[in-house]
């Protein structure tokens, strides 16, 4: 079956435990995810959702696998835009692998269709979120406050 995937990888100078808590702590997440945060118990089978700063559920699903601080798999379905929601479930896998002084964070997002508007939409956002997360964990401050600074400046 046709499939759309992206794989994003970054090396963050931190520990797997700290990175895991950065990926699952609601308040910490808001700092690097442009005000959005995830809500979940972070155990297999528990519901999961991504909520925007003004309280709109953007995506929802459930935790498929949780193996802290190594591996997290989320069944992920878009909620707010009909053309993305109609594509159905996608799967987001986060893998944390210690490599010397850093942790390799790999995020793989896949949906069983090609092309996919959902994958196109989320692939634009992930690099900014991951880059902010790296910067926050390594230096204590984020790189980008606004996801689309150029457009808003114009």
């Amino acid at each position: 079956m046709a499939r759309s995937t992206f794989v994003y990888v970054t090396y963050i100078r931190t520990t797997p435990e700290q990175l895991w808590s950065a990926l699952t702590d609601k308040e910490f997440m808001k700092q690097y995810w442009f005000g959005s945060h995830c809500e979940s118990e972070w155990t297999a089978g528990s519901p999961w959702k991504l909520v925007s700063g003004d309280g709109v559920a953007l995506d929802a699903g459930e935790i498929v696998e949780a193996d802290p601080p190594r591996r997290l798999v989320i069944r992920w379905r878009h909620q707010s835009k009909p053309e993305l929601a109609v594509e159905g479930d996608s799967r987001c896998t986060m893998e944390l692998e210690p490599t010397g002084t850093a942790v390799k964070l790999s995020i793989t997002h896949t949906i069983e269709r090609e092309p996919s508007k959902l994958i196109a939409a989320v692939s634009g956002g992930w690099p900014k979120v991951i880059s902010n997360l790296k910067s926050l964990l390594e230096t204590g401050s984020i790189a980008l406050r606004d996801p689309y600074p150029v457009e808003k400046a114009g």
Binding site: V7, Y8, K128, A143
Partner: protein
């Protein structure tokens, strides 16, 4: 300093037309095998492998094993970091105006 080394690897990886072409190929269609990439490049399989290794070391390409195949994915995270570090802070709006002017002038001349 590890950060400087990462940046050096990144700019070295980008400083080659074949490697930039590989990134463009992956941007057009992600998740390709070595053989698929070789079809688009006029060089030996071994040379393509070496270029891909440089891109992987710079973290611009990520690989995923699927069965017997190794798939190559464009990893834009380091490019985002270049953008934030080297472009966003240097007044993007004015640079864009200059870039538009350059494009317009070069179009009329060509």
């Amino acid at each position: 300093m590890p950060e400087r080394r990462d940046t050096d690897l990144l700019f070295k990886a980008l400083a080659d037309p074949s490697r930039r072409k590989l990134l463009d190929l992956l941007h057009a269609h992600d998740g390709r095998t070595l053989s698929e990439l070789c079809e688009h490049l006029d060089m030996t399989r071994q040379a393509v492998t070496q270029h891909l290794d440089v891109l992987v070391t710079a973290n611009l390409v990520a690989t995923v094993r699927r069965g017997r195949e190794k798939l190559h994915f464009l990893n834009p995270v380091p490019l985002q970091e270049i953008y934030e570090r080297w472009i966003a802070k240097f007044e993007t709006r004015r640079l864009k105006a200059l870039d538009n002017l350059k494009r317009r002038l070069e179009k009329t001349n060509g």
